[in-house]
């Protein structure tokens, strides 16, 4: 049985959908740029092909042996493409609000891996852009995606609304009325 989106005010709905769009764009662009490489910067410098090898080799934490093993495999190239494609798919899902719950789950899985590969323990890093202890941007983005997941933002605004309607036969106006009523309370 289908779950309804929680009752939230209009301001809350706008905030949630904005958050989902921003996170979606972040995932999408990360994947797009990786697939684009080898590429050229706008000022004419060649940019080498993207590879996760450096990241995997530098991994620490509980999953480090797994990451190190992946970095040494001959199918690292295919792994790189898979990562980029997954990022694009998740990003597209969140941007469009289509299969949002699955997109959120995928985002959480990837963010978990990214976080576990390099848990910030406060050590000073030469090229780090900031100082982090336990909490870093991956963890904050993880928490944000969790929020999107529980609020079922695809049904607030997104193609999920259309998809569910077309598969269940629920009239769009009926669902809109229901949301407007909840926003007014």
């Amino acid at each position: 049985m289908r779950q309804e989106a929680p009752s939230v005010s209009l301001g809350q709905q706008v905030s949630l959908v904005t958050l989902r769009t921003l996170i979606g764009w972040h995932f999408f662009y990360e994947g797009y740029v990786k697939l684009l490489h080898p590429a050229w910067s706008r000022d004419g410098q060649p940019l080498p092909a993207w590879s996760s090898a450096g990241y995997l080799k530098a991994a620490a934490g509980p999953l480090a042996p797994v990451f190190h093993a992946i970095a040494e495999t001959p199918w690292l190239g295919a792994f790189d493409v898979t990562v980029a494609v997954l990022l694009i798919l998740i990003g597209t899902s969140l941007l469009l609000g289509l299969f949002t719950q699955s997109g959120c789950m995928g985002a959480l899985a990837m963010l978990s891996i990214f976080y576990l590969s390099a848990i910030p323990l406060g050590a000073a890093e030469a090229h780090a852009e900031g100082a982090y202890l336990i909490v870093n941007k991956n963890l904050i983005e993880f928490a944000s995606v969790t929020l999107l997941l529980v609020f079922r933002t695809g049904q607030i605004a997104g193609l999920d609304d259309w998809w569910i309607g077309s598969t269940t036969g629920t009239a769009r106006t009926e669902r809109s009325e229901r949301r407007r009523a909840s926003a007014a309370t």
Partner: protein, 427 residues
Amino acid sequence: MNLTQEQMNQGRRNFLRVLAGVPAVAALGAAASIRGPVPGGPVRIAFIGVGSRGRTLLTDVDPAYAQVRALCDINPASLEKADEVLKKNSVPPAKHYADWKEMLQKEEIEGVVMAPPLWAHADLASGCLEAGKHVLCEKMMAWDEAGCERMRDAAHRNGKVLELGYQRNYNPLYQSAYEGIIKTGAIGDVFHVRAAWHRNGSWRRKGDPPSPGFDASQWGYPTFDHLLNWRLYRKYSQGLMAELCSHQINAVNWFLGCTPEAVIASGGLYRFPEGREVDDHVYATFEYPGGRTLTFSSIESNAFDDYYEMYQGTKGTLILLHESDALLFDEEASKRSTAISVSPREGGAVAQSSETMAGNRNTAGTSAAAASSAQAGPRPIRIEIQRFCSAIRTGKPVACGPDKAIASARPCIRANEAIKQKSRLLI
């Protein structure tokens, strides 16, 4: 013009002192950075003409920017030497062709770098552009003005990059001199530029045909010597004006911000009349707008004055010497000191890799010399090829496209006509 070592060092220090006061050019705009990268790996290129100049270009191909897929030359010996260049650069070998049209049909290339004899520029470059390839063509642009126009039209019609190989445009020394000295008005108003390219030799190359039965006539050269020494024959070459003067006119046009309007010239084949058609001594006066004049001389009987461009302004003098050294003299200071004296040329071998490249000069390793030398960074030709590739990928304009190249070729072509007609010609 040869200066004492003390004067040279003082000139270098002056140049560096003035440049130190010029703020750095701003980095790229923010708008460009937010648009993200442009897709595409190294540009797939081919070479047409891998004689001495072609191989100089080939040596400077940066594999991060371009991948050499094929080489084309009618002389198999040149192709073999080009293979050695690729091997030395640790890049994969390229396929060989004698017919450029066949190469364009069979190879999936995006751009062509070409350094064939001058008379072939227009046909080859236009043909490549019409086939949808970008072209970096060695200077001078073409043997005649019609050829230049044909190349420009082909580039515009097909929307392809056409760059002409005037490497001074990419020389950090010239860029510094232009930004820091010329644009800031540090030497005042320039009314006279003196350019010289003096050598003591016949310009003739020696070599054997690649095989006993090699027939150059099928390519339009009656004998192998006509191919090897094409620079010496009028049908293929515009002589010293094209091969040397056009480089300097290109730089002077850039620095003065305009192009010459008329030329008076003289010259002749005085020293090496045997088996040669182009003049071995040429002298020209180019009239620029605003009462400015460029005087040029190129002789093949004395190398004492070497090659340089000297900008004589109302406040000072800028000298750009053999593409690798810059000197600056203050006009007031020079009045106080004694006049510039002539000193013996320094000893040491002069090893030129080509007639239009800076040689391995003995510039007495002072700190000022090292600091003002263009040889410290990437070579200008390397930057030139990088910029050609960047233009193909990102659309960033090249420093010397067809318009500037025509403005450099036309005065040289007209100067040769003026020598023949013994008259002043409008450009």
